[in-house]
Symmetry: C2
Subunit: 203 residues, 2 copies
């Protein structure tokens, strides 16, 4: 399911019309969740924005929870990349995570996904619980692959950094962060991810 809706998915060639429609709906829904939040993202608005009949949204995604869960799951390409960060040299895991996070935020589709998570979380408790699962899942496997010492704590602290960056740069738009170059942000975040992922946690 997730592979089919991701912008990074490999197209299979099977039932292309249906797959494209599904993908159009997912893109429209992701943008709406990011812009107007969970409550105001209705089947009708998603359908209008995707240029399809509202019944098709129900057909492809069922409940609104399912639609939200689906469009805010990390694309498989990014989820894979998070896991593979553990494969490289240990001294530079922080930098590789910083690069991946910043790249994901520079890409409009994955940025929309992360903003959708933030907006929905503030407005809707049910969405918060879906996002909670995702956040733990996304970084937890990486932290576990890197350290036996409190991997869950390490994952959530790295998550604090990702959430803080996304919110401060793209929602609050606080300067000088809002105008900062991607490579400067990578430079600033790398040592902190390195600390949270593999260094002794408390001093």
């Amino acid at each position: 399911m997730e592979a089919m809706s991701s912008p990074e998915r490999k197209r299979t060639g099977r039932r292309p019309g249906s797959t494209d429609t599904r993908e159009q709906i997912a893109v429209a829904a992701r943008a709406l969740f990011a812009e107007v939040g969970y409550e105001q993202t209705t089947y009708r608005r998603v359908a209008a924005s995707a240029g399809v009949d509202p019944a098709l949204v129900v057909h492809f995604f069922g409940s609104k929870e399912e639609l939200f869960r689906h469009v805010t799951a990390l694309p498989p390409a990014i989820a894979d990349a998070v896991e593979h960060i553990a494969d490289g040299p240990r001294e530079t895991v922080g930098r590789r995570l910083a690069e991946l996070v910043v790249d994901s935020l520079e890409n409009p589709a994955s940025r929309a996904l992360l903003l959708a998570r933030i907006r929905a979380t503030t407005s809707h408790p049910e969405a918060a619980s879906l996002v909670r699962e995702n956040v733990t899942h996304d970084l937890g496997r990486l932290a576990s692959a890197l350290s036996d010492d409190q991997p869950e704590t390490r994952a959530v602290l790295a998550g604090v950094q990702v959430v803080g960056l996304t919110f401060t740069r793209y929602v609050l738009r606080a300067e000088p962060l809002a105008s900062m170059s991607a490579s400067d942000i990578v430079d600033y975040l790398a040592p902190v991810f390195q600390h949270y992922l593999v260094e002794p946690l408390a001093t």
Copy 2:
């Protein structure tokens, strides 16, 4: 103005009835902004929650922007404490900031203030611009007092950490952070604040 509405203010004894009413309104408004966001916090709801006439809300605070700005400004006691962090030993500034941030979030009044900022920012562009000013102001003076090297960048990076913590612990409620003890959080955040405030920023 700010001194009069803060829970930490020293009471002057002058017109206590009026001051108390003003404070009641501020407390009610702060809680509503934190719970339901900027848009849905109306004069009428604030007045009902404070048990006063809506005209009094207008009388004391004028516009909704002014009311929001007022109840989401840091209480003078906290703003003073942020500045005085620079006075102690340089090796432990990060820990002192972590303690102050965590103490402020453990206190229901200042937690409501920080949550009000986050909720309003996601829902209302005008509120975002008010919060933006506050965030820069709160940490900017501390960073400038500590370092001549990119103090604005240091302030906003420390802000990323504060925003990320507030959001992840209190809005998203991601574990293990949501259930973590205050002293553990101080231990985990202290080295990162230390890094952002006074260590070389990029490695």
